[in-house]
Symmetry: C2
Subunit: 95 residues, 2 copies
């Protein structure tokens, strides 16, 4: 980590949080799936509230899904995507 003249330091978030490569892959996977949820929802012209109703969950949970919140499992994201009509083949491409 390299110190700069302005007081800031240089270095990756990964190093700072001491995340392994595996952790990074996992987090990036969640982020990719989260983006996909938002994309599919918007393609279908649904609000978070409308999607939540369809999934029998709450708007806040949909918001957290799309935000790739740490309290959202990949299981939840996948179930959501599949219920939005995605299949495994399309999923593979989204990764």
């Amino acid at each position: 980590m390299k110190k700069l003249k302005n007081g800031w330091v240089e270095g990756s978030v990964q190093d700072f949080l001491e995340l392994s490569d595996a952790d990074m892959e996992f987090i990036e996977t969640r982020r990719a799936l989260a983006r996909q949820v938002r994309t599919l929802r918007q393609e279908r012209g649904l609000t978070q509230t409308a999607l939540a109703a369809r999934l029998k969950t709450s708007q806040s949970r949909v918001a957290k899904m799309e935000a790739a919140d740490a309290t959202v499992s990949i299981d939840l994201l996948l179930q959501t995507l599949f219920r939005l009509g995605m299949n495994r083949h399309q999923l593979a491409k989204a990764l």
Copy 2:
């Protein structure tokens, strides 16, 4: 569901258990990941016990992962695969 002369009936497991297409995709995804765990473990010449030690978990959990047990989350399978050296690109192909 069609009845046959021998007393058995014809019909898919999906219909019998009333699983939606989304459920099927989810379950099949878990099974694909489970197979991949076993493959990678064996490629590395590890026993379930040895892999469990590396993952800081128990042999029984590794067995359940590879069996695609319902109590095993996709999160756990993905974390395992990533720790076995897989990346998202390879993951996509395994689906």
